[in-house]
Symmetry: C2
Subunit: 396 residues, 2 copies
């Protein structure tokens, strides 16, 4: 707990760094943008909606009906674009090329920041946000392919630590139900602040990423557990609430909930390999911070960790950090089979690059990945999961 509180300011800075970086991008005037003739409705639209549309150069066109509004803006990726009204009361805008992957967005109608009813909504930044999926020509590791598919199940359980019924989502691999006696390793995979246990299976596409890796023989079939790490309300007031918001309630007790309730519950309800060699944890942003804290304070429970876009600033002195776990590189390398951390190149990479150098100099085995051209967003985390999952449980 001491260590949690001491590092709170670091994780908050990391979180904000990611956000501020994307805010600092150039704001293009929307009038210069044209939609290509090959534009198609986004796959993130709800049925029957032809807008938003995206062309092959990733210009995106948005339309919102607001007949009596005087000012409507599109708010996406830290930019606000002015929308213009036609004589039918439809406001529209065409953006500059967007980064590939999933982006939250809102429309601001005369001061009300709301979701676009034409797109699917997702829980992010502590509210229901619209999402748009921008195709990536160069990668399809997170798309639906003609391969065997696992399932994502919604699992409810009572938590005494939280005095509440809680929900987790559990991915089981394609052959789970066909091999009724087989047992599988488990990855515990955490969301970020302002999101919740739904994030990885909707925005993150965890099932498709694992299905594709397993089909190609690039990852061992595994169970993935996505629970609620707290921090969901952090941005509910429109801005981070500081320490109180991030480490109060469920987030404060999450290490206990995971170690003493979730893991035993999963080992009882699913056919797991219930030992440290077959147990990993990863997370994004706040979940990355939690992963550093929980795995490195409990190396007898986990043998692998993945920290995506967060938490890396917490290690400065390898002799003293985490009860001296890093002080003997041979012992560390034998104990922690996979230490993976990552950052988007459109984030603040200073803490992760420093940690990378620190670990390299000390001969600590690790993987540091930078996601090209992506910010503090789901494309960074999809790519990170794809890389991380392929390393897990290979030589337990």
């Amino acid at each position: 707990m001491q260590q949690h509180m001491r590092l709170t300011s670091i994780v908050l800075l990391t979180l904000l760094a990611g956000r501020f970086t994307s805010f600092a991008q150039t704001n293009f005037p929307p009038s210069t943008n044209q939609l290509g003739s090959d534009a198609k409705p986004a796959t993130s639209n709800v049925p029957g909606q032809s807008f938003p549309q995206i062309d092959s150069e990733r210009h995106a066109a948005f339309r919102v009906k607001a007949a009596n509004a005087t000012k409507v803006q599109l708010d996406i990726g830290g930019h606000k674009y002015e929308m213009t009204k036609d004589d039918q009361g439809i406001w529209s805008v065409i953006t500059p090329p967007l980064a590939v992957g999933f982006h939250y967005y809102s429309v601001i109608v005369d001061g009300a920041s709301v979701a676009d009813p034409a797109s699917e909504s997702f829980f992010g930044v502590s509210k229901m946000m619209s999402g748009i999926e921008v195709p990536s020509a160069a990668e399809d590791f997170y798309n639906m392919r003609d391969v065997p598919h696992g399932e994502v199940g919604e699992h409810w359980y009572y938590s005494h630590t939280n005095s509440a019924w809680r929900r987790c989502f559990v991915y089981t691999p394609p052959d789970y139900s066909r091999n009724p006696t087989a047992r599988y390793p488990v990855l515990y995979l955490q969301h970020g602040a302002g999101e919740d246990e739904r994030g990885w299976s909707t925005q993150g596409r965890v099932n498709l990423i694992l299905d594709n890796l397993i089909a190609e023989g690039k990852a061992r079939p595994m169970i993935v557990v996505m629970d609620n790490g707290g921090g969901s309300a952090l941005f509910a007031g429109g801005a981070p609430r500081g320490r109180g918001g991030l480490f109060s309630g469920p987030a404060r007790v999450f290490p206990d909930t995971l170690l003493h309730e979730i893991i035993p519950m999963i080992d009882s309800a699913y056919r797991t390999l219930p030992d440290r060699d077959h147990r990993a944890m990863a997370g994004l942003s706040m979940g990355a911070f939690q992963t550093f804290q929980i795995v490195l304070n409990h190396p007898d429970t986990f043998s692998a960790m993945g920290a995506f876009s967060g938490g890396a600033g917490g290690i400065t002195n390898l002799q003293t950090a985490y009860n001296g776990l890093f002080s003997n590189s041979d012992a560390f390398n034998q104990k922690i089979k996979v230490m993976y951390f990552s950052m988007g190149t459109v984030e603040n990479t200073t803490p992760t690059r420093s940690l990378d150098k620190l670990l390299t100099d000390a001969h600590i085995n690790h993987v540091y990945y930078e996601s090209p051209g992506t910010a503090h967003e789901w494309q960074t985390w999809r790519r990170s999961l794809n890389g991380f999952a392929s390393l897990l449980f290979q030589n337990p």
Copy 2:
């Protein structure tokens, strides 16, 4: 297909009747309403949001930030309530007592009809709508109780009929994973137009209803399959698109998809009892219409049916309807173990009451239920499922 097209106008009228009925309720002036001091945040709020709130008399208070708007309305249950602005730019309104259960709602900001970012969003009326859960003091059959819980799994499969990857949600009962050789009966449960395969497991709370019934010994443990019956885009333009919208694309081929793809796929992927005695179908609104059509045209595949708020107007002549299936009451009663249909009292009950009388006069075993005080909405369908599921697979 002939019969599908002939009955299209009937199901559309039924759909619209439900909607128009709720539109016809008295519109109270909002200024007369007060929020009781026992008001609490709705359980349908996203984390960290204190509004909407509901008091013990079911007045609901809504708040939306729209600093520069000139007119903001709350649109709920067919009423539009004017909201008023305070000096912080927050618009608010307190409604008259709402009916118990789940209601879709929107806010209209200077002509833009959008979801309230403070509430969870749900796919309904062909767009992402806000939902508010109004507690019912008299019933808790759909609430979380301290009983064993089943799981709802997200299952993907390729459909040749649709040339598309499709998703269904599958409820497996609490003891499914603990009894690895047990087999279970299956209920195929369908959504209405403007909704999709998510409806029953989110708005409908199918898992909690079944968990509670099974725990009390009131229902046999069963698998429930919730797939996409089409019609999701029907209201995408703001109003029903007529025959073309309701029976084009996935809805047109849904009988084939269900009979020739979904049922074999489920019987292969899950431990089912794969015979007619252990197979039932039910649905709401458009799904009720589909249930009449599919079950009564395929009595060798199904032994039970439930039609909630729809489809009852399709049977007028018992000698000729459905290839004479009703012409011999003894034979019908032996073949169709459960024939259940229902309507909310705040809907047009003329077609269901007529069918009830027709069947009673002909000594056809059936159950007709009216949900007190509810309209064409989820509380009607939750209650209907609760009653229907308890009758299923009792003497197969």
